[in-house]
């Protein structure tokens, strides 16, 4: 059981680390968002899973109610993270595109094409 908890912690920290590296490696705001949203969400899920496992193990061995609370709180934190993280990334990406930051090295940008078309029709 302890080995599993340590494994989860290692995997979670590794993904969080990769998310941070992605901030430096990638060229523009959109690709950076890929790294930061996906890797950090996934890493945090793993660290929280380690917390849940630890709490359940303690609950089973000692029977104290506070470890049950710990597990429930970790699960609620993961649920909140799963909802807010993609929403925030979406808001940042949309705001960036609206303020005219174009994706670097993009092979195709349908959103800019469609906005130009709409502007052409109304103007």
């Amino acid at each position: 059981m302890n080995a599993l908890i340590i494994l989860f912690l290692i995997v979670g920290t590794l993904f969080n680390f990769l998310g941070t590296v992605a901030l430096y490696r990638f060229p523009d705001v959109y690709t950076r968002l890929h790294g930061t949203t996906k890797c950090t969400t996934f890493g945090s899920i793993f660290t929280s899973a380690a917390v849940v496992l630890f709490a359940l193990q303690k609950l089973a061995s000692s029977g104290e109610g506070r470890f049950g609370t710990l597990a429930v709180h970790a699960v609620i934190a993961v649920a909140a993270l799963l909802i807010t993280n993609p929403t925030g990334a979406h808001a940042i990406a949309r705001a960036a595109h609206r303020s005219g930051i174009m994706p670097k090295f993009a092979v195709v940008d349908r959103l800019a094409e469609d906005q130009k078309k709409k502007g052409g029709v109304s103007a």
Binding site: F15, H90, A93, R94
Partner: protein, 165 residues
């Protein structure tokens, strides 16, 4: 109604100390839930007393979705992005997809699923005059400039339709 039920449940889970719940906590939870539900009434007044979003069959389906295809897609996505972080191989672009979804809940669910899975990030959503919502998706590895639904996000569109519409 759905906001009220959820606030009460989450409040009770947070207030639970591991040994059972006081009656006072339940009352506080109900009062707080009612305040939140009234505060959120402005956004959709028509659904205030309806049971929209509380269908247990749909919630069961949502949980199957969450632990089945979604978790699998997420693991794949993270390995993929991790490889791209290390090797630096990217071919980004923004593609357009008509999802055919109409409801706000289904759209939100699909947009969030897309953001959390294989190399894709929802940038903008607009309504198609022919029906359905258009998704503008930033894709980290563009293989096709006019892709089909399945190529970008697999079966998530079907699941969103089944669960939330």
């Amino acid at each position: 109604m759905v906001i009220f039920v959820f606030s009460v449940i989450v409040y009770l889970l947070l207030a639970w100390s591991g040994n059972g719940i006081d009656m006072a906590e339940v009352i506080i939870g109900i009062v707080l839930g009612a305040i939140l539900a009234f505060a959120a009434k402005v956004w959709n007044p028509r659904k205030f007393f309806s049971f929209y979003g509380l269908n247990p069959a749909r919630w069961g389906m949502f949980i199957i979705y969450l632990f089945g295809p979604f978790l699998l897609g997420m693991i794949k996505a993270n390995l993929d992005v991790a490889m791209r972080v290390i090797t630096g191989k990217i071919r980004p672009g923004i593609v357009r997809i008509n999802s055919g979804l109409k409801g706000t809940l289904a759209t939100t669910m699909l947009a969030n699923s897309i953001t959390l899975t294989p190399g894709t990030l929802t940038v903008d959503i607009s309504e198609d005059p022919e029906g359905g919502n258009l998704f503008y998706i930033h894709w980290i590895n563009v293989t096709d400039e006019n892709p089909e639904e399945g190529l970008v996000y697999g079966t998530f569109g079907k699941w969103a339709r089944r669960v939330a519409e």
